[in-house]
Amino acid sequence: MVGLNTYLIIGAILFSLGMFGVITRRNGVAVLMGVELILNAANVNFVAFARFGGMDFTGHVFSLFVIILAAAEAAVALAIILNIFNSLGTVNIDEANQLKQ
């Protein structure tokens, strides 16, 4: 039987990989993918604690809210990335170092 620790370790691996993507990627869209991985790691933890803590549905509701916020965050982040591309001609976030041109 697979226990709580397995899910938590999977969540930790997903979080670490997402953090690695956020730290090292240059492309803004790839950084966004890393953020999505981190949010999924948090969700796996919420649902795992709900399952092994006596099937409390609060964790499910929380992960629903996280999914909703991820949708809003992805929409706004992609709008910002499009604006950066239109004004600077690149989406590499280490080259986007001007506040105003």
């Binding site: 999977i10 691996i13 997903l14 709900a50 803590g53 549905f57 629903l64 809210f65």
Partner: protein, 164 residues
């Protein structure tokens, strides 16, 4: 090893492996496709955690919405003639060291902590209870989230509009 745990380990390997593909792939489109498999794998983990409604929501919103949005972002910010769509990474050594330290701390904490465990019967349905909690216990956050979604989508449309 029973059949269920065999399938669980396949799903877990799919999730972790494609998450690694998202981060380490040299091609941006390959990263997006790996993210697709990673999100599907996480939905499979939710099924193993008796969270069928969350699993379906994950597939509908993440795979059907957010991933399509990300691929649109890739297509709009790269010239389509640029076939390779490569993207590079910087400072992989320092970032890898930091992330490995974080992961070591997290896993030591996870394996060491005395988690509160409580056994429960597998529920016959989860949607009814989730709906009751959303409409009774968490009504205010639910409404605030709907207003936040409206504001975020209008803001995104306004931001990405061409300036006159």
């Amino acid at each position: 090893m029973t059949g269920t745990s065999f399938i669980f380990w396949i799903v877990a390997l799919l999730t972790v492996g494609s998450a690694a593909g998202v981060v380490f792939s040299k091609n941006l489109i390959y990263s997006a496709i790996s993210l697709l498999f990673c999100l599907l794998g996480v939905a499979g983990l939710y099924v193993f955690l008796w969270a069928d409604f969350i699993a379906v929501t994950q597939i509908l919103i993440y795979v059907g919405g957010i991933l399509v949005l990300i691929i649109f972002g890739i297509m709009l910010t790269h010239r389509i003639t640029n076939v390779r769509l490569s993207h590079s990474s910087i400072q992989q050594g320092v970032g890898g060291a930091i992330v490995l330290a974080i992961f070591a701390g997290l896993s030591a904490m996870i394996l060491d902590a005395p988690w509160y465990l409580s056994s429960a019967e597998e529920p016959t349905e989860t949607v009814r209870e989730i709906g009751r909690m959303l409409m009774v216990d968490y009504l205010l956050p639910f409404e605030v989230a709907s207003i936040l979604l409206l504001a975020a989508l209008m803001g995104a449309a306004l931001l990405s509009r061409k300036v006159d």
